[in-house]
Symmetry: C2
Subunit: 186 residues, 2 copies
DNA sequence: ACTACTGATGACAGCGACTGACATCGCGGC
DNA sequence: GCCGCGATGTCAGTCGCTGTCATCAGTAGT
């Protein structure tokens, strides 16, 4: 007889996404999520810093992929390095997570508080990329601009990938968006 | 005998910035802010949607300036239009608000929750700029990229303007940053 | 002058997010 | 077989935030 079932964290995440999709973020209490997962509210807050964070766990892993992509890239042109990192990070979003990503994004797009959290995560990502670029000897301002541009390209590309009817894989889309940005500022 | 002193909103904003700077955002309760301003907690929430918003009132005006700058600009090149809007919006930050802006930014930089709110405001700004560009007949993706780039330039430029030792006025800095972005992607 | 109405505020009760402190108990190590 | 660890439960409490109703100076209409 086990005292508690394993996978509490994953159960909480699944329960949260399900409830948020059905009742909305504000219409769901943490106690409800916990009960759905067979746990208590207090345990929820032991796994996630706050109610929003349950939708953003794993984001650190994503950030590490980006930074690793920058560190492993060749050359010294900031934009080229960022482009390489974009390629590497797409591994985080395989084709079979497209539907799940869409469902999650719909929940986020429906709540300003969740949008704030997403923006903070992306901002931290840009900061981590900036640091990684500077470690390669790139000057502060170009590093920040390249990182911000990279994140902007990722955002636009990701939204496109999620969109209804879109069938191109994420890496292809990202290359196209980066090309558009380049020609825009040429 | 007046029933209540005028300027409640401004008193609350001043009290909030003062307390946040002294005790930190988390270390300050809304009731304390209200008491400092000679009001009650309930009245605070009649003036501001939430505790964070007291630092971001006036942001709508800022957004309108940007959009107006886009609408009044000449030409069809997205980046040129955005550059013109950047010029116009600097009127929101005259030289004598530099010290105040720095104090406010220090408070924001010290709290993740406030950073989230700032990012949401900037994101909304980018969205409004995108819409304004599209109304000028610019295609969606170039419009979004130009708007995001414009906001990125503003962020980097504003941070520079605020920085210790910096003396150039904001418009000059913004032109320089935009030039850097251009040469970066050339 | 009397009355009705408005508009900013106060008072109060209540919900939900989040936290700290302490108890519980299966499991693995010794 | 005992002991400590670690994930969980329980409970009380703070604070952000909201709905509701009362208050009362000033204003407009009669």
């Amino acid at each position: 007889m086990v005292r508690w079932q394993p996978g509490a964290r994953e159960r909480l995440q699944a329960a949260a996404l399900e409830r948020f999709a059905a009742e909305g973020f504000d219409g769901t209490t943490v106690a409800e999520i916990a009960a759905t997962a067979g746990l208590t509210e207090r345990t929820f807050f032991r796994h996630f810093a706050d109610k929003r964070e349950v939708l953003f766990a794993g984001q650190d892993e994503f950030e590490r992929l980006f930074v690793a992509g920058i560190e492993d890239a060749d050359g010294t042109d900031p934009i080229a390095v960022v482009a390489a990192a974009l390629e590497g990070a797409t591994g985080f979003f395989p084709e079979d997570r497209r539907a799940w990503s869409r469902a999650r994004q719909e929940v986020i797009d429906a709540d300003p508080g969740l949008q704030e959290r997403e923006l903070l995560k992306l901002s931290k990502l840009a900061g981590a990329m900036t640091d990684a670029l500077r470690r390669r000897g790139i000057d502060p301002t170009p590093a920040a601009l390249a990182a911000e541009s990279g994140v902007a390209v990722f955002r636009v590309g990701f939204a496109t990938w999620i969109a209804e009817g879109e069938e191109r894989p994420l890496p292809v889309i990202l290359r196209a968006v980066l090309g558009e940005l380049r020609s825009l500022l040429a």
